[in-house]
Symmetry: D3
Subunit: 235 residues, 6 copies
């Protein structure tokens, strides 16, 4: 494992990151073409938070949070700290004290491939955290890792300066070079969804709005009244 | 996989379904003889909902929600939409727009073997959803499936028109032909539990109330004071 | 499996147990030297509870809650009931009626290696419960087990009379003979954390406060500006 | 849970069952339209077995094999015993002694939703077994269940008399009423696969054999030389 | 975590351990009263090994095998090395070189709560290993742990000097003080099983041999011919 | 998701890939600095295979193997096909017919994030396959994906032309630009391990060979005879 701290990586704009955060994970994920989602294992420590920020990444040894201490110093206002481990671990590498230090620096939240602790305190502070586990298991500060190198969480590569969006649906990453496209596409999707919502509230069906009836015919989907279906002995 | 949409299946009464919903999952499950529960993997997207409704079923290909669009049209007031996939998947096949369409039709909730998204919006709408995962991962509309055929979720067969009961304890199914028996037995259980609750509040023990002391004797359970136990070198 | 009920085991002091509960899981776990945590699988049935109590233990056959009935009689004010099963099971061995009986006896909460049900009712009662699963699946009363023998949950041995601490971070056990040490060490940790919190709020870094910069040098961690890093072709 | 033993259910032909077994799981699954597979959790206790037989079903309480004893008496030559539990369990409900009794009765194998033990002995005997777990954990004989009722394993309903096919790819069920169709379709698939195999050995591509190039065009799949791809800054 | 190496703990007799190993896990587990099994997660790295030996225990930090090096020195002929980690980890803490060192010292095998690697080499050497995972992920030697303290694996406490039995069914522990009882009971069980096996081969049923028909009556199990069952509309 | 097929990516040398394959996963992983391992979920379909080859990558929709057909055409002698899915899936996207086509093209093996089927046939053919699951569940050819774009499996990024090494310990990736370094470092490690193996066979301890006794002192590890340990009342 490389043992390096990369300093001052270029970041996406923090306002752009916030705007993507306002759109939320599902919208931005769809807008970008259904990419970038970290999967259902990443859950919020408490419900209701929604953030967008620029990634500072840390790669830790399992059971060891030394590199989080290093990463704190690299964090700036508008960042989201993203922590991976070199192998699977649920240990609680992050808690209230780290949250205090990060909040002081204007950091918007944290995403961990491992565990988080002090959940009640994080909720009380309003500091957002997403992780694979809640765990009180403590850590050591013995083994080196890296800060601001590309890391992989939930099958997605997060590079320093990328935008991380997180809410009750989980976490996603927007590559720094895709932020403009993401903003435009997300706004377009919001507009389209507003129209669809209004149509659905008025009783229109998705089958009609999306023109799916022809597709069903092509695929050979048959409509059969229940009585006929039962007569065929279906079970 | 059959590619069929069965229309107008007979349904249990929607008032009966609501009454079973009021009793809740644990009560109806016990009343029916400890059958019908979909297991602990099915969790509510937000806490506090409790529903009973008649099942409309959809069987989807993983990562594909085409048949949910088909199923929406088959839904009536009092229904609960029940979605299975042909193989395991956590993708977020269902979100706010579907909920809008279903709410418009008087549908009481949704149960999915896969994932759900737009959790914050569903909570704000008050639309109840149970699923195996929360996932923002989007879906395509490419592959046919079936609507209103029997489906299996969590080891239980759900047939169209069956009653689905769901609350914070999870989800269960009551076969349409068992609804009358379920209502009677659930009410009996509620009455019995009220008496037991009062007895327990008054200090009676389950050992006495259920007559279990004799059973313990038959099973050879011994009572041993701690000091004797320690002397035997038990560890 | 031994089929024995051990009566009147010595217990840690119930006030000491409450004091450890007030400190919470993460603090006491760290104070004791990072031992005793039952792991991230044990989750609260509802958020916000925090308890400390003395353990009464029960060992049940999977799908069978006979020995919980036996254990209730052994419970006293200040206890926490701790339930293990002889093999893995998620069934809902515990619900509202048991909670009613335990609350009547002054019991502070329950921890189960299996499942819990009646979650909405437990939340309404304010009775705290931690478990590996929420499950409505009911149980029988057919097979003997043991009460107040040592049991293992989540890789930790819990003996009757030990202190169990539980909150939103999960559950931990403090051996009865370690309670005094735990109280002292937990208070020391609280004091130290208060000072650290104030320092972090004032902008001090963990790297400096914990003297970690020397460690990073020893471990060969390099700081590299982003432009140099990119020139090396790192990916 | 019903506590019933259904006797003498009609069975598919044992020779037909054997013929389906010879075709194997993947072939019959495809031939029937990609239905009936119990999923990847069901694994053989030892590699290399391949069977087809008629189902005798047992539904057991977790940790309890009483109903397997009942089911043995219902087994005939050509059967496969299929064991479900009323809630999830990995306990080793089945081992060498049951295998001895079943082999004596001409039973072709066993499928369990729970665990199996005596793996070395089963391999030495050549008695085929598929299960979700290998576990030495023993069981009691205390709680009633059912024999020859429909059971659900791995999301599939198995009815007594259905054909069960199992090999190194896992386990599938063929409804008794679909056996003739399955035999015809499986043979057709075998013939088609033989032709495809020969074509692939001769260097033909699936893209051409299945006419997929047009589909790729419709779906907008582009072919891009690596150098162009890199110039676009793709990552 | 205590950081201690306990030297020269008393051990069960190595010949007794070997004799229990010859009986195998399922037999000894049953003989002792269905206790001591580490559960289905512990699997052999290669099939066919069967050992019994006296435990030397090591407690490691996740991703760190320093204490295995310490434990090697404490091993004697007839021992089995048992490795726990302070929190869940799948990393490959053990491989061919450790196996070489242990084989030189007459150690009979290894059991790890984490992962093992060099599986092909271990099979070629004939060195038995059981673990929760196969993983090539390497480890550091940075953090202290303990040797020859009680450790918990798979819900079972293993103390130094206890007997560990392992085969294709998994792993179990026999407390040192129970070895004599285990030997006697295992032999009795072997004799009883031989008689049962002969009876089953001769066609006797478990229902008769174990006298279960009366139990079924008490439990209210009914025998119903298939035709009657179908008439009742059972599904 | 991009829908692109990148053609003719540069590849590492196929002889270099084979040489890394001969070293095996654990050795190359350590040689590179403990990076690149895909984790313990990737298992061989049959034991004993060991390969090294150059990656051709495919990204599929869950339950859809259309892009594997596309990828076959891009494969050359010495390649290993690497298949990811856009969300988690265990379906059996790959079987005997694909293996026939790949073997004809000189492909050395396949690695899938999803499932594989026809395990018995793959073993008989000697075609190596690694996957997260064995599953007979069949797939459709309906949704586009990509070929020869970077994909993530098991937390590792695999780019086309990288070297993939796989054996009974699992799978790892060596970036194309690191192949020379990997070959040199792997050979150095092999030499070092041979010397260590000889030393261990001669009875030397890792504690001495790696100079760990000083580290233990620094870490405060104490050696305590068993009798003293017991007197302290340790449990």
């Amino acid at each position: 494992m490389r043992t390096v701290v990369v300093t001052d990586p270029p970041r996406a704009g923090v306002d752009d990151a916030a705007a993507l955060g306002d759109h939320g994970v599902a919208t931005v994920h769809e807008a970008l073409g259904r990419v970038g989602y970290l999967g259902p294992e990443f859950r919020p420590a408490w419900p209701g938070a929604r953030v967008g920020g620029t990634a500072v990444t840390a790669l830790c040894w399992p059971g060891d949070n030394l590199m989080i201490h290093v990463a704190v110093e690299q964090c700036r206002p508008g960042d989201v700290l993203v922590v991976a481990t070199s192998s699977p671990s649920t240990d609680g590498l992050f808690g209230e004290l780290f949250a205090t230090a990060l909040a002081r620096r204007g950091v918007r939240g944290v995403v961990l491939a491992s565990g988080v602790r002090d959940v009640a305190e994080l909720r009380a502070m309003g500091f957002p955290a997403w992780s694979r586990a809640v765990s009180a298991q403590g850590s050591v500060k013995a083994t080196a890792g890296a800060v601001n190198v590309p890391v992989v969480l939930g099958g997605q590569t997060v590079r320093p300066g990328d935008v991380v969006v997180a809410d009750d649906d989980g976490v996603m990453v927007v590559p720094r070079t895709d932020v403009d496209r993401a903003l435009t596409a997300a706004q377009a999707r919001v507009d389209k969804e507003a129209a669809t919502r209004a149509a659905f509230e008025a009783g229109e069906l998705g089958l009609d709005r999306y023109g799916l009836r022809g597709r069903l015919d092509e695929l050979g989907v048959e409509y059969v009244p229940y009585e006929q279906w039962v007569e065929k002995g279906a079970r």
